[in-house]
């Protein structure tokens, strides 16, 4: 009884899932809970087991142990075709010997839908994906973006309750990818369909997803909103993986950072650092450290300044509207905070001078 109530809250639930491919442990005690109507990203480096999780939810793989629940029903023994899922493959897997129309109609025909309803539904979907007039084309005659949309429409045609997308943007060139991301998010929000997509691109996950599940080496490291993952990483892996994080050596030599323990390491993100020219007047100028700029990378809207401090190559962003900095120039760098890792524990440590100055004020 209590289990039913628990499941009512989450639409998709994985409990203690384990999966091996021969000797490879692809999923280790995976526990996931996905609320209805959410757009969720499975984010992790390649080989981290994210696609395996997606394929198990779809019924394309079977877990060695553990339970999969969809919509309050245990589906371990339910074939994929009866789980009410739509699946968009990384390669789209459009039927290449069928027209766009036949591709989208395929699932409906299997359900013995009357011909006039099929026509209606396909026309409606083609309009939704803005591909009207392409129904007679074959997949080979479509652009990458169009193929992706047709695959999306094909997955949606049989009215699934759950949409699964495997690296949906991986095979598309950069510019179209950005457009499609926004498009997909809008589509899914509009249709209000619970969706899970797999990606290795954190920007993609942060931009598109309501919630992100971070996987690493077959385990779920953390799940939460993009903001949560960003500001409160639960594990060292998440802290390193999210943001342009760099590990920091010689942590104790940084000014105004205390080292209370011996075996700690630290992680630094560019947004934790600010860089200013000598003589520039800014807050905390007194607490800054001197460094020499080694490299400057133009990022369009900002500059990434790289400098070396206590044998670490550290990045910081600087607006292009500020006074220009050159390579080889001596600058002042102020580090606001760092993630400090001790074993599996992680904490955010602020620069001590921030506290002191605030006391003075």
């Amino acid at each position: 009884m209590s289990e039913q109530i628990e499941n009512a809250k989450s639409y998709v639930e994985l409990k203690d899932i384990n999966k091996h491919f021969r000797d490879f442990h692809a999923s280790k005690d995976v526990n996931i809970s996905i609320p209805k109507g959410k757009l969720v990203a499975l984010l992790g480096p390649s080989g981290s087991g994210k696609t395996t999780i997606l394929r198990m939810i779809a019924g394309l793989e079977h877990p060695d142990s553990g339970e999969i629940w969809i919509d309050g029903k245990k589906v371990n023994d339910v074939p994929g075709s009866e789980r009410g899922v739509g699946f968009v493959f990384q390669s789209y897997a459009l039927f290449r010997y069928m027209t766009v129309f036949e591709n989208i109609a395929f699932g409906l025909r299997l359900k013995k839908t009357p011909e006039n309803e099929i026509k209606e539904k396909v026309t409606e979907l083609l309009k939704l994906i803005s591909c009207e007039g392409l129904e007679k084309r074959y997949p080979s005659e479509l652009s990458g973006g169009q193929r992706q949309r047709v695959a999306f429409a094909r997955a949606l045609a049989p009215n699934p309750q759950l949409l699964l997308l495997d690296e949906p943007f991986a095979a598309i060139d950069a510019k179209v990818r950005l457009e499609l991301r926004t498009w997909l998010k809008e589509m899914i929000t509009k249709l209000h369909i619970t969706s899970i997509f797999v990606t290795h691109d954190q920007d993609e996950a942060i931009e598109v997803a309501d919630e992100i599940i971070v996987t690493n080496q077959g385990r779920v490291e953390q799940s939460g909103s993009p903001q949560e993952l960003y500001s409160r990483p639960a594990t060292p892996f998440v802290a390193q993986f999210i943001g342009n994080s760099v590990p920091v050596k010689n942590f104790e030599r940084f000014k105004h950072f205390e080292r209370n323990d011996d075996d700690v390491t630290a992680i630094l993100r560019p947004e934790f650092v600010s860089v200013f020219k000598e003589g520039e007047h800014v807050q905390y100028a007194n607490s800054a450290e001197q460094a020499v700029v080694e490299d400057i990378i133009f990022r369009g809207s900002s500059l990434e300044i790289r400098f070396r401090l206590h044998e670490n190559l550290i990045s910081a962003y600087r607006s292009i509207n500020e006074a220009p900095i050159e390579i080889g120039e001596k600058v002042n760098a102020f580090i606001y905070r760092m993630f400090v890792i001790k074993g599996e524990e992680i904490s955010l440590v602020n620069n001590l001078s921030i506290k002191q100055e605030s006391v003075i004020i």
Binding site: G80, F89, S91, L94, F95, R96, G107, L110, P158
Partner: protein, 272 residues
């Protein structure tokens, strides 16, 4: 410039060699077959071709070919399908065994069946009481033909199926398609041309098979003599007109197959 001039000469040399080679080794003998077949005039040719035993041999060849091709189409599809779509133990071994008939001499293939089904064979005592005769009978001929031709279809299909991957089938299955529907709607359109091409190759090889069939047939005129065996028989009997006339039937059948092959190749290419 230098290279281009060179390749011009090289091109013509290579073309020349190819044509000369084909001419000496293929066209000349072919011409000789036709010429000898008509040595005694059209009348002699027609008599030889319409000979009762010649017709029976031709029919037997067609029959054995048809059965073998049908069985091998089924087997070839099954083997290619399981080798490309599933992972299982013994996959490599199966894959290697499929190629065996290409590497083993057809005579040995024939002997294998004699040893298995013959009077001294292990299965003889089980089959004989039911009156089932394999060797020195039509079933033996069919068996031998199947053996020598079974890699042809699967070997054509495996590369195509491997290139396609399993995504489309998985997509269809997730939408609720049953295995046979998936095969008919998704897989078959993809492998259609490769399959037909394999069937053509298999047919050509089956029609011409001599060695294995020779061991198993027993050479009973009008009963177990296929066209190639009949030709040899006539040739051994110094009936050159008859032998070459019968050969010309085989040549004509081969040319029909060749034209079919060409048509299929072009059609397949256009669709891809």
């Amino acid at each position: 410039m230098e290279i281009r001039k060179d390749s011009g000469i090289m091109k013509w040399i290579l073309i020349g060699i190819s044509f000369l080679f084909l001419g000496v080794f293929l066209l000349l003998p072919l011409f000789y077959i036709i010429a000898t077949a008509f040595r005694d005039g059209i009348g002699g040719y027609l008599v030889a071709v319409t000979d009762e035993y010649a017709i029976k041999a031709a029919l037997l060849t067609l029959k054995a070919t048809l059965i073998s091709v049908l069985i091998n189409t089924f087997f070839g599809l099954a083997a290619a399908w399981c080798l490309t779509k599933f992972a299982f133990k013994g996959k490599k071994i199966l894959s290697t065994f499929i190629d065996l008939p290409v590497t083993v001499s057809p005579i040995i293939a024939g002997l294998i069946y004699v040893l298995t089904f013959g009077r001294q064979g292990i299965l003889y005592k089980y089959l004989d009481p039911y009156g089932i005769q394999i060797i020195f009978a039509v079933p033996g001929i069919v068996l031998a033909t199947i053996f020598v031709t079974f890699p042809f279809i699967s070997r054509e299909l495996i590369p195509v199926l491997t290139a396609q991957g399993t995504d489309e089938e998985e997509a269809a299955a997730l939408m609720g398609a049953k295995t046979f529907t998936i095969f008919r709607k998704v897989t078959l359109p993809h492998i259609k041309w490769a399959l037909l091409y394999g069937v053509v190759l298999c047919t050509a090889r089956a029609m011409g098979e001599f060695g294995a069939v020779s061991v198993l047939s027993g050479h009973l005129r009008g009963k177990t003599n296929t066209l190639p065996l009949y030709i040899e028989l006539l040739y051994q009997g110094y009936d050159f007109t008859g032998a070459f006339a019968a050969s010309s039937i085989l040549v004509i059948m081969a040319i029909i197959i060749l034209i079919l092959r060409l048509l299929l190749q072009n059609k397949g290419k256009r669709e891809v």
